[in-house]
Amino acid sequence: MKKSIAHIFIILFAVLVLLLTPFAGSIKIPLSALKDFELTTTGAQIFYSLRLPRVFTAFLAGAALACCGVALQAMFRNPLATPFTLGISGGAAFGAAIYVIFAASLPIPYGSVWFSFAGSLAAVLLVYGLTRIKKGFSVGTMLLAGIAVNFFFSSLILFLQYISDFTQSFRIIHWLMGSVDVTGYSTPLTMLVLTVAGIAIIAAQSANLNLMSISDEIAIARGVDVKNTRKIVFFATSIMVAAVVAFCGPIGFVGLMAPHICRLLVGPDHKILTPASVLFGGAFLTLCDTVARTLIAPAEMPVGVITALLGGPFFIWLLLKNTDSKSGM
């Protein structure tokens, strides 16, 4: 009974955020503008070509990051596992930075996505490889390797910025902060395809993730192909992280917060937890972005600043909460 209220709450939250946030902003949208599909008025132009694409992009980015967080946390049985802490975001960001500086003029369709994807895959292989060198890898090692990989890619990005010219450098800095300001529907449409694919792959692993969240031994005893599931999850998260990072930059902490809040609301079963986190993560990032573009209106902040401001304390809270109940990492 309590849980079904939580389900309704999450669905309602997502629907309300999607319905209301396009109206928020420094310029008021008259309701009459909604019927103006020819975009003859400024209100309609702002609503349909700026606000709606932006809201969709934020929602998809949040949904994708939350989905990655859910899967990685279950797989590593660690509440701090996210695309960010495992270095996947860092790799994707490095890939995208290379694209911006060296390859942006090349005629590659969706070039930034491809470069991000290559970067995120490289990060996954690096983190996984580092833990494979020694037999019997622990999740603690994995996270430390992830942090090391993140640092490594951050320094590479700094290096790229240093050797690039001023405008490229500014573009990289702005995008590194994480922002969802897009125009038109090509970005949200590309993201929709990649995000839906990634979420579908992860959702199909629900039963495996449930068992792996208990222990690998139990999962193997019940018949889960653990190694294969790991590969699938890494692949799906690499796709989703690449999509988010290529278009919006490395937005942190959504993948950390959304799954945790949803776990408190709907419980640990991934058949429900995954869709709940997807909806909640999407709505949460959209809300954060709305705050980012209204707080200091008419100026705007990158949404990554808001999520980091919320996420930092949340991370510490989790760390403290966790050392109470579990020993080690």
Partner: protein
């Protein structure tokens, strides 16, 4: 009874350069209660981990029901054998019912719905293991003994023919120890389930086992019946210490008694 559940030939395994198992060969007949004993670090747990395919990079051959272990898909293997760890993780957030239901995994395809038959098997498993009375409690809130009952309930709901158990009664009080061994004996007797059990408790091994093997430094140093292993020289060879024996007042079986500390 002569059908082989498991056949192991020349099984070896090393971590870095340390040899954990060396040319281990033995077989277990279907329906047997098979106990593995030996001192700390003898390779008992590693042996179980090879059998349950948690460890895969071993040398030698393991056959399960006349088929190479490596040729099974994980799911197909889980219909035949299951592994019960020494203890479940203490922080499992699922309820007992959810956890036991998850043990139906090998019988379900990714998108199939849980059938009334699955539910029936799960309720049956919880009834038999006396875990039904706390079915809706979260596992993290249970005691160690209750968690172990739940672990066996799940293994039973999985309907595997072979149970691999790693010291199932370690850390448990006397009542729960007895309950776990009674439960395993009952499952063995009623369903002809093969029980392969690692233990440090020699007395429970000799009182429960059909066959016992002893490992020492990765090698088999004894294979035989309970009567045979309760021998001063054999036990001293296995454990590098002397033992005192008494006869069990009910069965007459020779058992060991604790040492007097001087």
């Amino acid at each position: 009874m002569n059908e082989k559940a498991i056949e192991i030939e020349d099984l070896s395994f090393a971590i870095l350069s340390k040899r954990i198992l060396q040319d281990v060969s033995f077989s277990v007949s279907a329906g047997q209660k098979f106990f593995i004993v030996g001192p700390n670090g003898a390779g008992k747990t590693t042996l179980l981990r090879c059998l349950s395919r948690i460890i895969t990079d071993y040398h030698g051959s393991i056959k399960v029901k006349d088929k190479n272990l490596k040729t099974y898909s994980q799911k197909k293997l889980a219909k035949i054998l299951t592994y019960v760890p020494q203890a479940l993780p203490a922080d499992i957030p699922f309820t007992v019912h959810q956890f036991v239901l998850m043990a139906r995994y090998p019988h379900l395809s990714p998108f199939s719905v849980i059938s009334p038959q699955d539910q029936e098997i799960v309720s049956g498993a919880m009834e038999m293991t006396q875990t039904a009375c706390f079915a809706d409690r979260i596992i993290a809130t249970l005691s160690g003994g209750e968690r172990q009952q739940v672990s066996i309930a799940a293994a039973f709901a999985q309907q595997a023919e072979i149970f691999l158990l790693d010291e199932p009664a370690a850390y448990l009080d006397y009542k729960h120890q007895r309950d776990i061994h009674n439960l395993l004996a009952k499952i063995n007797k009623t369903y002809d389930t093969t029980i392969i059990c690692v233990t440090h408790d020699l007395n429970s091994a000799v009182l429960n086992a059909d066959t016992i093997i002893a490992l020492k430094e990765g090698k088999i140093v004894f294979e035989g019946t309970a009567e045979k292993i309760m021998n001063e020289e054999i036990l001293e060879q296995i454990y590098s210490k002397k033992f005192n024996f008494v006869q069990h007042p009910l069965t007459g079986q020779k058992i060991i008694v604790p040492d007097i500390i001087e």
